[in-house]
């Protein structure tokens, strides 16, 4: 998916509440295990890196590397 399309999905997801607006409590890096990326909704498979985000108050979401970097840069300061 193109960068611009991913950014648009992040903005729309944050507005709709389907993409988190809070930074991770703990961020984990590992090999993809098939979880669905919260941004692009595609599975994260090996050998892609999976970024796992433990959210404040509970819950965990998963990102592709590139999706995570765009999401993290879009978080409110």
């Amino acid at each position: 998916m193109e960068r611009e399309a991913l950014i648009a999905r992040i903005e729309a997801g944050m507005s709709a509440g389907t993409v988190p607006c809070q930074d991770c409590l703990v961020t984990w890096f590992g090999e993809g295990r098939g979880h669905r990326c919260v941004v692009c909704e595609e599975p994260i498979t090996s050998p892609d890196t999976e970024v796992e985000c433990d959210l404040p108050g509970g819950g965990t979401v998963y990102f592709h590397n590139a999706c995570f970097d765009l999401w993290h840069a879009a978080l409110p300061a």
Binding site: V26, T27, F29, D54, F68
Partner: protein
Amino acid sequence: MTARPQRLSALIVDDHEDSRAALAVLLQLHGVDVRTARDGEEAWREIVEAPPDLILCDLHMPNLDGFGFVRRLRADSRLRGTVTIAVSALGGPRDLIETREAGFDGHVVKPISEEALVRLLDRVRSAGPAP
């Protein structure tokens, strides 16, 4: 993934004495056996002797910094499976890319909240990244 023992051991690597002490107390309150080191070189001597279940490592330290330390650890087949978390006051997008690319298993912004520590320890106890 391999389940780890309930009684975890951790190594705190930080050049700030107050940061080491505060995190050590918090970990001990959660039943973790704690050792400390002031930089990457000191940490390396500690883990070669007895690898812990978890390493919580600051990034900017004298002698051997956190990036150099984790690269050395990942290059050693005996130690590369040790769960190693970057603990840093810096948590911006560029900072997380750097810790990920250096080989850390995760990143936590300090000071570590109790909620973050509990989540982290639960994860390491139950599974943790594959050794």
